[in-house]
């Protein structure tokens, strides 16, 4: 089932035309796109795929993030919005836990300690913050971009708590290369990652393989809506002083809507029940958030339809 934005396309892009990502001054394009999660071909047919058909990694994305590596930890740099969003990630995780059976365990001295797998960790904004929590036993953080992993490790050195053995491990690899550690993590986190993945369906399956039964997949991404085009491409990627992220950071065609996520997990559950098994996944929990100037990120009800949102789903078995 495909979902199209309700606005008529003004211009259909021809395959030979370059995109904004590659630096050309293309006109705004709002063409109908098929739903992202079920397509097995990359969203942009002309994207280069030098790393082979089995990889979730897009070379253009790697190049883009390599250039951003040096400024990752600058609180007033291009990653500022990620720094400001990070506390909300923890709030969302707590609210997911409170809906699951784990809600009985309260207080910092609860015996259960969590193991995290952070996919696409970048410079380690979330991974390092998760590693500091008293309720964390270990964090494994992976990213295919070597430069950002170097930056993350350098940041780790500045904190004795993060340098405790086994607490925080950065690995420069892609999810499909993480052969071991299947089904060993309480949390698999994908913050601002899935909109940079060319084949999200395969990627999700690989990520979910690493979850323990009862574990949660938690992530954040952006909905594909004309308003999110306006806010994340026109405003956020505008030149200084208006813009807040570098040009080319996002590709609107790769955004995923909450309904598409829900449908995907419902399909997995349906296939399981056709095989005579129980549901694999619980209900998908979604919370929209909005970045307001001078205020920062706030959870805003129903904003997941047109903007940034968090999603969480529990693997029941």
């Amino acid at each position: 089932m495909s979902r199209v934005p309700r606005i008529a396309p003004r211009l259909l892009r021809q395959p030979w035309q370059t995109t904004q990502r590659e630096g050309a001054t293309a006109v705004a394009v709002l063409r109908p796109t098929t739903v992202r999660l079920y397509s097995t071909t990359p969203a942009r047919a002309h994207a280069a795929q030098p790393s082979g058909t089995g990889s979730s990694v897009s070379a253009s994305e790697v190049t883009h993030f390599t250039n951003l590596a040096s400024s990752w930890w600058d609180p007033h740099g291009p990653s500022r919005l990620l720094h400001l969003m990070n506390p909300l990630r923890h709030d969302f995780i707590k609210s997911c836990l409170s809906t699951s059976a784990d809600s009985a365990a309260v207080g910092p001295e609860r015996a259960k300690k969590y193991a995290y797998l952070d996919i696409g960790c970048g410079g380690g904004i979330f991974a390092s913050s998760a590693a500091r929590l008293p309720s964390t036993s270990s964090v494994t953080a992976i990213d295919p971009t070597a430069e950002v992993i170097k930056v993350a490790k350098e940041h780790q050195r500045a904190d004795p708590l993060l340098s405790l053995p086994g607490r925080l491990n950065y690995v420069n690899c892609a999810i499909e290369d993480l052969e071991s550690h299947l089904k060993t993590f309480d949390f698999v986190t994908l913050f601002e990652v899935i909109e940079h993945i060319d084949r999200p369906s395969t990627f999700l399956r690989q990520a979910l393989n690493h979850l323990k039964p009862g574990g949660w997949l938690i992530g954040s991404t952006i909905a594909r809506h004309p308003l999110s085009y306006f806010t994340t491409k026109v405003i956020a990627e505008a030149p200084w002083p208006i813009g807040v992220v570098p040009r080319g950071t996002h590709d609107w065609d790769k955004y995923i809507n909450p309904s598409e996520l829900r449908d995907w997990f419902a399909k997995e559950n349906r296939e399981a029940s056709e095989r005579g098994e129980e549901d694999i996944y619980g209900a998908v929990k979604v919370e929209g958030c909005v970045c307001l100037p001078l205020v920062g990120w706030k959870f805003v009800g129903r904003s997941e339809e047109f903007g940034n949102y968090f999603f969480g789903v529990q693997k029941l078995r």
């Binding site: 390599t66 250039n67 951003l68 590596a69 040096s70 400024s71 990752w72 930890w73 600058d74 609180p75 007033h76 740099g77 291009p78 720094h83 400001l84 990070n86 506390p87 923890h90 709030d91 207080g107 910092p108 390092s128 913050s129 998760a130 590693a131 500091r132 929590l133 008293p134 430069e147 170097k150 930056v151 490790k153 350098e154 050195r157 500045a158 904190d159 004795p160 340098s163 200084w240 813009g243 992220v245 570098p246 040009r247 080319g248």
Partner: protein, 558 residues
């Protein structure tokens, strides 16, 4: 944005930290270089320098909250905390350093379970503040009576007088209660503060403050310690070494005034449990209130209706402040239990040293004069010699006071100030009054609280209250940061504290400073002086008459 040059070096330090490290390479206090590679024993999460009420309240708050109780904390104080913990005075003697604690701060102290460790027989809640001006006939009364009458509720406390030592002792008891006594390092001096080093085989602590501590009384380099900390808190007073290390400047000025403090004994009122209550008895008031509220036409025509503007029900105690513009500043009498009171008199250095040289009976006479006589009369008293005694061993001050009282027509507020009967021995002291505000309350891995951040004029009794507000906000900020996995020394984590407290401190200190300025002008006797004095009086009356303004003022310092 993509034009920002990408550093290919693996040793990346972001621009903000780079400028900080370059500045902090020069940032030192008291030592040329500190080389330190601390073992994990010497690495702390929170080190507070300063064991006054603000530093102690912060430690107690961190150890009380379950989210932050696991943090490795240390509090360094040069004086003996054991002596403070064993402080004790008999019930008829009170320390001359007492502060007026607002209800909000009392709630904070209750929340961290420190309030119950105070000796509550030695604290005095008061329900009313009488303020009047020697330059005119205006007076204003601050209390919550409008609300009490409106809701038929007991009167709300304006503030509570607490001896600083009582508060410190209570906080130390709470810290022991919660098992955090080993976090106290008393009798140690901060010899120097520097930065850690970047160990290629270990951690990079080059942005971490490292303190060199020396035990007081030990010679040479014995008994020194070096400790590194994730967050260094300066609660170390107006000349804060931590603030100097952080390279933070202060703005402000000296008022050219001294605050004279003393503990006084006052004449007991009819009800010994309520100091200074000598105008209306509770029973009279209650029956009058009943008549007033009933719809009975007979009672409404009664002639003996009290004026509810000026009388409050069930008053426990009253604080008094009289502005003396010609004599350098206000005199305040703040109630303490058992017919005692605390004096805070802001005046010129000359008058302050004169007062300190007086004999006890001359001193009490002068204080009584300052509350009742015209300014010219009080000025005359300052010219009297301090050593001559008249027959019957009375001082010239007492005889002058007695004579001038008969001829004085100065106005008193609706509730009269108490008559001072004696001075508690060895309690007169003075300190210079200054306004200081640090240009920033935070720096990377540094936060300032209490007098290290801001010092204000005592005329509104807000100095310690601002400091306790800092402790509450900082403990809440640290708690939020820990719960969200932040590095508590990160500027992004500390920004919430700075935003909230900087605005509060500027508001209060500016308000108090402006009020002080208003009451410093027209110190002369001429036409301009009396005109400005009359203008001030109008202003004071206006504040009292416009409904809600008084309550709004009280709310800002609540």
């Amino acid at each position: 944005m993509l034009s920002r040059s990408a550093s290919k070096s693996s040793r990346y330090i972001c621009k903000a930290c780079r400028s900080t490290i370059n500045a902090s390479r020069k940032r030192k206090f008291g030592t040329n270089s500190i080389t330190l590679n601390p073992t994990s024993d010497d690495i702390y999460d929170v080190v507070t320098v300063g064991g006054g009420p603000v530093g102690l309240a912060l430690l107690a708050a961190l150890k009380t909250s379950p989210s932050t109780s696991h943090l490795k904390c240390l509090l360094v104080e040069s004086q003996s905390l054991a002596k403070q913990k064993s402080w004790s005075l008999p019930p008829d003697a009170y320390s001359n350093r007492a502060s007026s604690i607002t209800p909000t701060n009392q709630s904070f102290l209750e929340a961290i379970e420190a309030w119950r460790h105070l000796d509550l027989t030695r604290v005095q809640p008061y329900d009313e503040m009488q303020v009047w001006d020697a330059g005119n006939a205006a007076s204003i009364q601050f209390d919550w009576s409008a609300e009490a009458i409106k809701y038929n509720a007991p009167l709300r406390t304006v503030a509570t007088m607490v001896e600083n030592s009582n508060l410190s002792r209570g906080l130390l008891r709470r810290i022991e209660d919660v098992g955090a006594e080993e976090s106290l390092m008393s009798g140690w001096n901060v010899k120097g503060i520097g930065n850690g080093i970047d160990d290629p085989e270990g951690c990079n602590l080059s942005t971490w403050p490292v303190l060199e501590l020396q035990q007081i009384g030990s010679e040479g380099s014995q008994n020194t310690k070096q400790i590194a900390t994730r967050l260094l808190i300066g609660a170390d007073g107006i000349n804060s070494p931590v603030r100097t290390f952080a390279g933070i400047n202060t703005n402000g000025w000296d008022y050219g005034r001294h605050g004279v403090v003393a503990t006084l004994q006052v004449e007991s009122s009819s009800d010994p449990a309520s100091p200074f209550q000598n105008s209306v008895s509770n029973d009279d008031f209650d029956s009058a209130l009943e008549d007033f509220l009933s719809d009975d036409p007979k009672s409404s025509s009664s002639s003996s209706q009290p004026n509810f503007e000026n009388i409050t029900p069930s008053n426990r105690a009253t604080a008094f402040q009289r502005f003396l513009p010609a004599l350098g500043g206000p005199i305040a009498i703040l109630p303490l239990p058992n017919n005692h009171a605390s004096l805070v008199w802001s005046t010129t250095p000359q008058i302050a040293s004169y007062l300190k040289s007086l004999s006890p009976s001359a001193f009490t006479a002068t204080v009584n004069a300052a509350l009742r006589l015209e300014q010219v009369d009080i000025q005359y008293l300052f010219s009297l010699p301090t050593t001559i005694s008249e027959p019957n061993n009375t001082t010239p001050h007492e005889s002058e006071l007695t004579w001038r009282l008969q001829h004085t027509k100065s106005t008193l507020p609706s509730r009269s100030p108490p008559w001072i009967t004696a001075l508690q021995p060895n309690t007169i002291a003075s300190f210079p009054l200054r306004l200081r505000n640090a240009t920033s309350y935070i720096a990377p891995r540094i936060a300032l609280a209490g007098d290290a951040a801001h010092t204000i004029h005592p005329l509104a009794g807000q100095g310690l209250n601002l400091g306790l507000g800092d402790a509450e906000c900082l403990s809440r900020t640290i708690r939020y940061a820990v719960e969200h996995g932040m590095d508590i020394g990160d500027l992004m984590a500390l920004q919430g504290y700075s935003g909230e407290r900087y605005a509060a401190a500027v508001r209060v200190s500016t308000g108090v400073d402006l009020l002080n300025k208003v009451y410093q002008i027209s110190s002369g006797d001429g036409l301009v002086g009396s005109l400005l004095g009359a203008a001030r009086g109008l202003g004071m009356r206006a504040v009292g008459m416009v409904p809600g303004v008084r309550e709004a003022i009280m709310r800002t310092v609540d």
